[in-house]
Symmetry: D2
Amino acid sequence: MSKLEELDIVSNNILILKKFYTNDEWKNKLDSLIDRIIKAKKIFIFGVGRSGYIGRCFAMRLMHLGFKSYFVGETTTPSYEKDDLLILISGSGRTESVLTVAKKAKNINNNIIAIVCECGNVVEFADLTIPLEVKKSKYLPMGTTFEETALIFLDLVIAEIMKRLNLDESEIIKRHCNLL
Amino acid sequence: MSKLEELDIVSNNILILKKFYTNDEWKNKLDSLIDRIIKAKKIFIFGVGRSGYIGRCFAMRLMHLGFKSYFVGETTTPSYEKDDLLILISGSGRTESVLTVAKKAKNINNNIIAIVCECGNVVEFADLTIPLEVKKSKYLPMGTTFEETALIFLDLVIAEIMKRLNLDESEIIKRHCNLL
Amino acid sequence: MSKLEELDIVSNNILILKKFYTNDEWKNKLDSLIDRIIKAKKIFIFGVGRSGYIGRCFAMRLMHLGFKSYFVGETTTPSYEKDDLLILISGSGRTESVLTVAKKAKNINNNIIAIVCECGNVVEFADLTIPLEVKKSKYLPMGTTFEETALIFLDLVIAEIMKRLNLDESEIIKRHCNLL
Amino acid sequence: MSKLEELDIVSNNILILKKFYTNDEWKNKLDSLIDRIIKAKKIFIFGVGRSGYIGRCFAMRLMHLGFKSYFVGETTTPSYEKDDLLILISGSGRTESVLTVAKKAKNINNNIIAIVCECGNVVEFADLTIPLEVKKSKYLPMGTTFEETALIFLDLVIAEIMKRLNLDESEIIKRHCNLL
């Protein structure tokens, strides 16, 4: 077992993301995700544990670009309404509190995106499912590689949004936290 | 020592809040606080530990009433700008990270409110200081009674804002978290 | 309507807490809550929105006194096990994500306490229910007075625990956050 | 500009991490980081914004492996003591509130690790600095690539700790959040 086994696995997982640029089926998924984000009135993001922190990284960057983005359950997160978008992040696709949020949102609209590794029952509520194909290993356990790949995938989504809307770093600097 | 000693202390601390309705000096402080909240473009709230959670309760209720309120450091909290208001909550008035936030905000504008128990050096940055007079005891230690009284004081501020702007519970229900 | 209507309502809500010291049925509930806290291996606390912040205030104070307390879902909160205690805080008693946590804990043990205002279906999972009787008003809407009364009730629980275990403020100072 | 420019940059940033396995100077930095983690009584982690969420991912995984890890400022995070370790994560190395934490910890011990991109003044407080060399781009702005690379670097640190202490996924499952 090479000393670099984990690094190789992580690198390969990231190279698999090329399909979002080279394969039509996956290009359409990326485009649909970006369309929904740009069209949405408010964007709600949710996940639990490490997936939740990856989701917060994405929500923060959307806010930096001027979107009305929120992480579900935070202090000033308002109510979810019919013109809004919900993005759920769950490696297993079965996290119960993610399902609770999905069920409640489904009563309001059909604009739910699930970013998963395994297609657990959250995908039944999703109007668009984006499964991230990742390899794990003994020392990259549980959702580790899903969370890494999800962070990078969502940063690439940010990159594509910036290109589409012709935004640059100055937008981020303008809205970046300046009190801590 | 009566079994009810702590309850009596807490009750008295709350009755002291009457001065915000009956004493001109304290009525003016309450009015000035409310004026600044209503005039502010965005309202930033910050505190550490239990004071931070009391601040979040207030920030959430302001959001429910339609204000653009934020807790400093949360996921989608944007940058602080010249037309904004900063409300700092610190029992000691000396919490270092609260001072850091105060210093940075002071470089941007002069619209900082400090809600304190002891007038530590955060008040040097404050444009309005609201000291909450509270009694402590052996079994109501540290900031316990300050945090309780601050929660109730800030809920009374919400009540006065609702009266002034003729808002009722329907505003809160409209914006209340509906996904958890 | 007197200017002090809200303050009177809040004060009366707090005086109602006397029954935990003077009425046997309520004294037993308080004692049972304290017994379970002292006997528990780990103490998990959960609530959503303002109730969640009140729960965090309580969890923090328990940690200060040397208990292994956690708020469900935070970064280093471990798994819930059979010798642990779960305290749920929900004004309505019907918050869905609180029910999710209750159901999951019920599969592990029967040591669930519900602190509520209205006895929604979370009480079906509770092994001890502590309803806090509070009066609301137009300008003390939703869970406002429940959350205030719950904060003070839980601070009184802390006071009773300190008396029973002969703890004082030095315990709190020893463990109090010293890096912010 | 190839469609895959961002993906190539991210992949290269991750390949640069090979030096922690192949270059003695960087192997020693990794070993020193791991030694300090294994020897520490409690491990405190801190960062602001996206760096803070990356730090929380790491703190959570350390808890899963049985370490006493905490994120500074969370509900049940205790006080920092002389036998503890502080790991600071800041892309710029100049985040003021990170400096506040560093200064306070420096009064307690000399066991501070800074994980940075640029060597801002936080490194003056650090007993071990680990600069992560990353390339940015117009559409991978600010700390984006630092945060991605830091997440993966810290997951590789977890992998090395698991190998050293002969731990596997069962440890993580045992302590993994089971109530949400």
